[in-house]
């Protein structure tokens, strides 16, 4: 029997929401890691029982948690005293050290700071965890200050893919939210190709499994945000989404503008069309319709809440430009919550389920591709991330 497990990361812990394939009645478990910020949780496509979580705190730093039983129990990989013998790395699952070695190309060690000077890279937290598509022990981490790390032992130890910072990293500059690598897309047809996105540096692609990276920001325009609106790097990309059947087609929610590329990022063009505002954070693609995409328009970069207090998801069935408001079941007055970049996802059932969480603590589900919505929970802490598993 099909079951659904929604992984919700919040400002004050993690929650697991479970249902059957109807997605009508839900069970809420949690909080896990109560009191900690859970930036992101994601299950392994190769082994859905394996889930990784990024647990962070301003006091105690970064923790990586791992479950091997679908979230019932958790461990810090290699963190237990029982692993004291045997040469296994202990207590290093939260050790993210930037690679400055000569062997990997002497990566750039400073980036642009708020005052225009160069500033050393300084690890703060893991924003996003992306498990490998076929190996439950391999997982990628996008971190702040922006860099990408990989673990091949289930999160016990991490190594930086330092070639990314060589992609004009000295020009990257943090936005108000920090210099975070928040999006990692793995090409299911080409193991050497990955896409990532950084606020506020832009989008990047590797075609050699992470050794070297290329900025892919042609066509992005950042008027009033960059002195050169067509700059090669520096754009505040909020999210990128891909349909696995067409990995060369990407959709982007930029700070302002919804964008699309049909050639793996060589050139982007705008598809904001008739959206009431093209500012927003998340973007995602229908599981079975590669031209059906979803965004949540937010008033502006100065007003981080829905226009007119109406929470509306917008759907395009034409790959952009022509959008329809989805409102059935969503609050259409007095709603001033935001939806963050990692807080929307889709399941693979038919009809496709769409999920998103808000900074007001609501998690909504649409079991019919966006036609109707209902809240799963109303009053969680502010939602940072939402992922879903079909099990």
């Amino acid at each position: 029997m099909t079951a659904i497990r929604v992984l919700v990361g919040t400002r004050k812990g993690a929650f697991l929401l479970t249902s059957d394939g109807k997605r009508d009645k839900w069970k809420v478990d949690g909080p896990y890691f109560a009191g900690w910020e859970i930036y992101h949780m994601k299950g392994s496509p190769a082994d859905p029982s394996r889930i990784f979580a990024s647990q962070t705190s301003s006091w105690f730093g970064q923790i990586i948690q791992r479950s091997s039983d679908g979230g019932k129990t958790w461990e810090t990989p290699g963190g237990g005293p029982e692993e004291a013998q045997g040469g296994v790395a202990r207590g290093e699952s939260n050790k993210f050290v930037y690679d400055g070695s000569a062997e990997t190309g002497k990566p750039i060690t400073t980036h642009k700071w708020y005052d225009g000077t160069q500033h050393p890279w300084d690890f703060k937290r893991v924003w996003h965890l992306e498990p490998s598509l076929d190996d439950p022990n391999t997982v990628y981490a996008g971190v702040e200050d922006a860099a990408m790390f990989r673990s091949t032992n289930g999160g016990q130890t991490w190594q930086e893919l330092a070639g990314l910072r060589a992609a004009k990293g000295d020009l990257w500059q943090p936005g108000a939210g920090g210099l975070g690598l928040h999006t990692i897309l793995l090409d299911p047809t080409n193991k050497n190709r990955m896409y990532i996105a950084i606020s506020a540096a832009g989008a990047f692609r590797t075609d050699d499994a992470g050794k070297t990276w290329t900025p892919i920001n042609n066509g992005l325009k950042s008027l009033y945000q960059l002195p050169d609106p067509d700059a090669d790097v520096g754009h505040c990309v909020h999210r990128i989404a891909m349909h696995p059947s067409r990995p060369d087609v990407l959709y982007m929610q930029k700070h302002w503008d919804v964008m699309r590329t049909d050639d793996a990022g060589t050139m982007w063009h705008e598809v904001s069309g008739n959206l009431p505002t093209d500012f927003g954070f998340p973007i995602d693609v229908h599981a079975h319709e590669p031209e059906t995409i979803y965004v949540v328009p937010i008033t502006s970069d100065s007003l981080h809440y829905p226009p007119e207090g109406k929470l509306r998801v917008y759907r395009s069935r034409s790959g952009g430009n022509e959008w329809e408001a989805l409102t059935n079941g969503l609050p259409q007055k007095d709603c001033y919550a935001n939806v963050l970049r990692d807080a929307m996802c889709v399941d693979k059932l038919d009809p496709c389920g769409i999920y998103f969480g808000t900074t007001g603590g609501q998690v909504y589900v649409s079991p019919d591709g966006g036609d109707s919505w209902k809240p799963i929970v109303h009053d969680l802490p502010a939602v940072l991330s939402v992922e879903v598993q079909v099990i």
Binding site: A34, R90, V97
Partner: protein, 98 residues
């Protein structure tokens, strides 16, 4: 045995309740006590002091015998009452908020 009181979130992470007791070889200092904590509870590595710099995290404080010793050099011997186990070393999360 040196007695240490960990903050709530680190007790949860280490899966302990109450104080922890550690066998610390002399000299008993902030550094040797944290070394002993990290050896006994590897999941706490990086949470009290930074993995790479070995510096105390900014919002973690050390209290000994009603004194804030957070600014003392890490190799300064701790008071005899701490070294003998008469008094616990308190590791606390700093106050924050409005």
């Amino acid at each position: 045995m040196v007695r240490v009181v960990l903050p709530f979130h680190l007790r949860t992470l280490a899966r302990v309740t109450g104080e922890v007791e550690l066998d610390v070889q002399a000299p008993v200092t902030q550094r040797t006590v944290v070394d002993a904590i990290e050896a006994a509870y590897p999941m706490l590595r990086g949470t009290i002091r930074d993995h790479q710099t070995r510096q105390r995290r900014p919002l973690v404080r050390f209290f000994a015998c009603q004194e804030d010793i957070s600014y003392d050099p890490p190799d300064t011997p701790l008071p005899e009452a701490i070294a003998s186990g008469k008094e616990p070393l308190l590791i606390v999360g700093a106050l924050a908020g409005g």
